[in-house]
């Protein structure tokens, strides 16, 4: 574990205690985010990508509970911290952007007050000064004529504009970490392009580390320095983004890449992954991707593979070296 990580998650386990059993939403996840880097977290729904970072903020809704692990943020363990102290970190040191810009803004509060709220809560600062800084940050995220829009209510803003407002309020206190959970999923393609552009701009202008949670591999390809692929509550592969796309080491990553159409190909085609992700309440003893895997072998049924190093900074949890084309199922 490098000392300089902004955020270091070790052995995080967050389970949901439902009537139909214990759902292991996050099962032994370890990750770290270094200053200024963008970490992409890829996975489908139910892979645990959002719950991992809700656990970081201790916002997991019941019946979910973080049962073990360490979350070291700027040298302090967030899981051991009193809630009062954690509140000073949420919003101030860690900014958060959620998926749906239509519901994450309070419709009864003026835009200016919502953006300035973080400052008013965390810093001893007058309302006017806070609003001044709100204007500054709103202009930086591309809201033109921000000063005159402070008094507006959210319904006057379109989806893309609201997401900009969300990003502004996440960035206003100059956090060292920004967590963006599917920030463009609810947006149209051309608006998504605008918001992605904004993120690129944020990366170069602020030194904030960014965790970008998304199901869209294309977005990770464009934005992230490192990427982690999650499947059924575990990180199955972690690598530099370029390595991940050029040399995927986990069969799930490989299969996921093949499900993506590449527009512009003369004969575009995709290969779907058969089956469905497993039920989190009764995960198999062995590898949870076994049922859908093209490289499976007997060992995978018995033993769940740990993260194995496949070269510098590249880890995957698979017994098979898929690059050597070993053992593709072919009956």
């Amino acid at each position: 574990m490098s000392v300089d990580a902004v955020l270091s998650i070790q052995g995080l386990k967050t389970y949901f205690f439902t009537r139909s059993g214990i759902a292991r939403a996050v099962d032994d996840v370890s990750l770290e985010v270094r200053p200024g880097e963008t970490l992409g977290i890829v996975g489908e729904s139910g892979s645990g990508k959002s719950v991992t970072f809700l656990s970081v903020l201790r916002l997991v809704p019941p019946p979910g509970k973080t049962v073990s692990g360490e979350i070291i943020f700027e040298g302090q363990d967030l899981l051991q911290m009193p809630l009062q102290k954690l509140r000073n970190i949420r919003g101030k040191r860690i900014g958060i952007v959620f998926q749906d810009p239509m519901t994450s803004l309070n419709p009864f509060l003026r835009i200016g007050d919502q953006v300035a709220e973080t400052l008013l809560v965390h810093e001893k600062i007058s309302r006017n000064k806070a609003l001044d800084r709100a204007v500054g940050i709103l202009e930086k995220v591309g809201i033109s004529d921000a000063a005159s829009r402070l008094e507006d209510y959210p319904h006057r803003f379109s989806g893309g504009m609201r997401q900009r407002v969300m990003i502004a309020s996440a960035l206003i206190a100059n956090p060292s970490l920004l967590i963006a959970d599917e920030p463009t999923t609810a947006l149209d393609v051309t608006i998504q392009a605008q918001v992605l552009d904004l993120f690129t701009h944020i990366k170069s202008e602020f030194s904030t580390a960014i965790v970008l949670i998304t199901h869209n591999l294309g977005i990770v390809a464009g934005m992230a320095d490192h990427a982690a692929v999650m499947y059924s509550g575990r990180v199955v592969e972690y690598a530099k983004t370029t390595d991940l796309f050029a040399h995927p080491r986990h069969p799930y990553t490989l299969a996921l890449l093949k499900t993506l159409p590449r527009p512009g190909d003369m004969q575009p085609s995709v290969q779907p992954i058969p089956g469905m992700p497993p039920d989190l309440t009764c995960l198999p003893r062995g590898c949870s991707f076994f049922d859908r895997c093209a490289f499976r072998m007997d060992r995978c049924l018995e033993e769940s593979p740990p993260l194995i190093s496949f070269g510098p900074g590249h880890q995957a949890s698979c017994w098979v070296d898929i690059e050597k084309g070993q053992n593709p199922v072919s009956e």
Binding site: G159, A193, T259, P263, Q271, M276
Partner: protein, 343 residues
């Protein structure tokens, strides 16, 4: 309209307007022009991809074609008969040949009916009850579901499986045309690929005519023979899928295509993404002239005044853009190797 053989489905100058009851501001119309003077045709066995962002009217168009809405004006010719003016029993009869797959697999299946009843309903409606169970089992098999699914209820299935049930229902009556409104957009990536592959196979084996509607250009490119790009209730460009993707002529098509994130770090970081300014205007207050002009990077004076017509360039491509009539104007879409108008 653009083919010598007579098409299976032909839409001419279709308009679907909704009355607007809210506050009227200056310059806005009295109705929402969801589909505005739109024409296209669909051949037997062809997939037409209809692409556009939310609010462009693509879902309204889909529902108007299966006559869930009554169009304001225009024709919907199916095998030469105009659906737009049909009502009652004749309309019901024609609908057996025009089926639809819906977007949301969670709300498109009646939660209180078993899968057997859901898939059998269209058959019962048209009195095709002979060998009903066998047919239902066969349909479930076609979409890759086990016959054991029959006695279960929709809530017992995952999103992808539910979408398969919806597809089985749409296929029950052996329709000639299937309208699929964002059939994969509510699903996870890996399941999305399953559904799209299934639709593609079905289209080929059953010789269906498909109207595939999506906001996701990369999905459309997988399935479609031809693509039509919609903006504010109008088609701005149509042509063969591969041609439009490799070489879009309308600035909006160009921006849409460049906005798709490519799952390849090297290409994605090198490419120049065209970022359009602003938001899609409301169909309640369409801009004068070309509807795209407030966001167009290549806008010039004529665009603000004159509405460009959808004109043919070559035998297959139709584009509505003034730029194409002014070969010497620059800047222009980076990729456009413009043809000469064939009018």
């Amino acid at each position: 309209m653009m083919h010598s053989t007579s098409p299976l489905l032909e839409v001419n100058n279709l308009r679907v307007y909704f009355p607007y009851h809210g506050k009227k501001s200056a310059g806005s119309q009295r109705e929402v022009r969801a589909v505005d003077n739109l024409s296209f045709s669909l051949q037997q066995g062809e997939t037409l991809g209809l692409v556009g962002e939310s609010g462009c009217g693509k879902s309204t168009l889909a529902r108007a074609i299966v006559r869930l809405f009554r169009p304001h004006s225009g024709e919907i010719l199916f095998r030469g008969r105009d659906l737009a003016v049909m009502e009652g029993e004749p309309l019901r009869q024609v609908r057996s040949e025009l089926q639809m797959v819906f977007q949301d697999p969670y709300s498109s299946l009646n939660p209180r009916m078993t899968v057997r009843d859901i898939v059998a309903e269209p058959l019962r409606n048209f009195g095709r009850t002979e060998g009903l169970v066998v047919r239902v089992r066969e349909l479930l098999g076609t979409v890759g579901l086990d016959a054991s699914a029959m006695n279960r209820y929709p809530h017992e299935f995952s999103g992808g499986q539910r979408q398969r049930i919806g597809i089985a229902r749409a296929l029950a009556l052996n329709p000639a045309v299937v309208v699929a409104d964002e059939p994969a957009s509510a699903l996870d990536v890996s399941v999305q690929a399953q559904i799209v592959t299934l639709l593609k196979e079905l289209q080929a084996t059953l010789r269906l005519s498909f109207l595939f509607i999506s906001h996701d250009l990369s999905l459309v490119s997988l399935l479609s023979h031809r693509v039509a790009v919609m903006y504010l209730g109008e088609i701005v460009e149509t042509g063969p899928a591969t041609a439009i993707f490799s070489n879009p002529w309308h600035p909006y098509s160009e921006a849409l295509i460049s906005a798709i994130p490519i799952p390849d770090p090297e290409k994605e970081r090198l490419k120049t993404r065209i970022v359009l300014r602003g938001d899609v205007p409301s169909p309640l207050s369409k801009p004068p002239g070309c509807p795209f002009h407030p966001r167009c990077p290549y806008v010039f004076d004529r665009c603000r005044i004159e509405h460009p017509a959808l004109k043919a360039y070559g035998s297959e491509r139709w584009v509505s853009c003034h730029l194409l009539d002014e070969p010497n104007r620059s800047p222009r879409p980076a990729s456009a190797h413009l043809p000469t108008a064939s009018l």
